[in-house]
């Protein structure tokens, strides 16, 4: 039997008169990467905030890691972590202090050691003792995600983890996500980039107009459309490929 760590049925949520979620059904298997695709304002963040116990739902059932959201929010908070759309880091503290703080708040036994390990894993030893306020956008995102990994939560919510990052930093975040998934963590991420869902996700759901209009693997989604016609076209390099090639070149020299 397949174990669903996230099971959402008929989820509804309105803000005053605006109905954002109109009966959403989502299932996420343990250890998989699940991507929720949708345009700006489609309700992706609303879904994440409900699952992370930050926002109350109007109707429907939400079960995370076997716990019902209305009955055991504390247990759910124990099994998840959230990386929001904007890096939620204390900018006056250093990177190391931020990690130690989260480790202490997760009531881990040796917070300093946990912080040191994450700093090594994310190769941030140079920046670790500088204030986060001095970090670049990519660095902030990295420490933000590292903070989410403290205490090895079973499910990680990433709300648009690569929005606003340069291509290099984006690849780096992708790599982290793939490593986490390989280690057995369930990842629920939202994105507006089709390419990101294509690269990362085991399963993709498309949220449109308050409902999930498709939910399947990439292969399954492709089958929804007529088979591709074979045409011969000269492949143009994308600007991103060129950019990354030049950067690589420079670093080798």
């Amino acid at each position: 039997m397949i174990e669903n760590v996230i099971q959402i049925e008929k989820l509804r949520k309105s803000y005053k008169d605006v109905e954002v979620l109109k009966g959403v059904n989502v299932e996420v298997e343990k250890g998989k990467i699940f991507a929720l695709l949708g345009s700006n304002g489609a309700g992706k963040t609303t879904m994440i905030r409900i699952m992370a116990t930050l926002l109350e739902r109007d109707a429907g059932s939400v079960v995370i890691n076997g716990f019902k959201i209305e009955k055991n929010p504390a247990e759910i908070r124990n099994s998840i972590s959230l990386t929001g759309q904007f890096a939620a880091i204390d900018e006056i503290l250093t990177g190391r202090e931020n990690l130690q703080m989260i480790a202490k708040l997760r009531h881990l036994r040796n917070p300093n050691q946990v912080a040191d390990e994450l700093i090594n894993r994310f190769s941030m030893s140079e920046a670790a003792d500088r204030r986060v306020g001095t970090y670049s956008g990519g660095m902030k995102r990295r420490i933000d995600i590292a903070m989410s990994l403290v205490g090895n939560p079973e499910i990680i919510f990433l709300d648009e983890p690569t929005t606003g990052l340069d291509p290099e930093a984006r690849l780096e975040v992708w790599k982290i996500i793939q490593e986490l998934s390989a280690a057995g963590t369930t990842i629920f991420l939202t994105t507006q980039y089709l390419e990101e869902a294509e690269q990362l996700a085991d399963k993709i759901a498309i949220l449109h107009d308050g409902k999930i209009i498709a939910q399947d693997t990439l292969e399954g989604l492709k089958k929804l459309f007529p088979p591709a016609k074979v045409e011969y076209v000269e492949k143009q390099l994308t600007l991103e490929e060129i950019f990354l090639a030049i950067i690589d070149d420079k670093e080798e020299k």
Binding site: R77, Q85, A88, I92, E97, M101, K104
Partner: protein, 254 residues
Amino acid sequence: MESINKYFFKDMSVMFGRSMRHIFRSMDTIVTVCITPIAMMLLFVYVFGGAIETGTENYIDYLLPGVMLMTIGSGIAYVAYRLFLDKQRGIFERFHSMPIARSTILWGHVLTSLISNVISVVVIILVALLIGFRSSAGILEWLAVFGILGIFILALTWIAVIAGLSAKTPDGAGAFSYPIIFLPFISSAFVPTDTMPSVVRAFAENQPVTPIVEAIRNLLSNQPVGNEIWIALTWCIAIIVVAYIFAIRIYKKL
């Protein structure tokens, strides 16, 4: 709930440690908080003081309690500002999605406000000593003075929590403190109320700053403290209760 309450003090110490680090890493905020009250003190002692009849020998002794309250008034603007930043940067959200005792997030800020404002007041007292302030008060009187100031800080801090949590811009978060900073001017903090026109005088004598200032002034000059200390405490506690209820209501809606 129990499993969470077990960690209340541990979580509290993390929250408190965090915001105290903010204070010690930005000592300039303490300087900024103290500079206007110090300027006021110098201005009133060396420029206006000679012309003001207070019935006390040493004008600085008369003036100091009011300046202490002004200092606290400008100090709490930063409390609102720090809360606003935590809300805006998503730090509250991060904490709320974690298994921690929620109330500690606010109490960490409140405790930090208490400590940082006491530091500012101590700075003001030291400057006052340099320019001639002298007190005949003993240990007990000083403890009573800091007790009153502590309760006053808590009252203003809970107002600051409301302002910080409901503000839309960083400037808006601190704006509530301006009227509070100027409240001492329309009280007996700088001059006795006897010479004020009747309407102003009625306001001055019935607003919270006057009884607080007079209670502290009497304690510092070792005079018997009358009713005003109870009026002062009633004002502060009433403000704490009302502001706390509103602050918690806003906080729960976040």
